[in-house]
Amino acid sequence: MHVSRGFHGRRRPEVDPARVPPGQYVTSDFPVLSAGPTPHTPLSKWTFSIDGGREPVSWTWDEFRALPTETLTTDIHCVTRWSKLDTMWEGVSLDVLLGMVDYDARYVLAFSDGGYTTNLPVADLLGGKAWVAFGYGGSPLGAEHGGPARLLVPHLYFWKSAKWVRGLRLRDTDEPGFWENYGYNMYGDPWREQRYAGD
């Protein structure tokens, strides 16, 4: 490792350090980071489904948008070390969505257009901690940032907030999703710096 004189990486705004998890730096950018091409599912074909409960439940885009929505301002933390503070979102709470399903599973695998998956405990989706978000910064969520809708779970590293989400598979066991399979942490708490398996 060889330090290059005068290299700092991106300029970092001054922020309250209590808002920045360990090892993170704050950015005002919103990097577009994807593991695959941006999908372009027409809204007429879009559904969000939850299966693995007593019966599968599914919403079309119109049905989804008829559900009660919330707006929220929150901080997001990417495992690649950038954090973005005070991001504004609009979405449907997972409390609403899961509230319409009869289940007793403890884990989910969230799945997206293009094949991306990520796993979470159900408990981390409930109690006002998670949304299916369709609005960002006061506008419809752009395709490059996961639109028409993405999972939003800001208390975990942002790879858990699956872009282009299309549903949840309820499971009794915690099975690794895409990045978790390649060595990323099964849970991903930025405040305990759980980036990789075994952290």
Binding site: P31, A35, G36, P37, T38
Partner: protein, 84 residues
Amino acid sequence: MVDEETLDGNAIGGLLMEVFGTEMTTAVATCGSCGAARQVAELPVYMPGLGTVARCRSCQSVLMVFTQVHRVTCVDLMGLASLG
């Protein structure tokens, strides 16, 4: 339709050299899903920071994934039928 940010296998020439010990961008990658065969240099490559993903240009299946976990490089080539 290819996203602006998408790179190609040329961009991971260094990573491949480190992992395989030799220049790999001219190696032919055959997709395990659809059978399409292309040189590694021509595969769409995504580098979202968490890792590097090389996909089949024809069917977009994942062919290769590289991550670095605590300084150990993990390589998954399961999407390939062959590489060489």
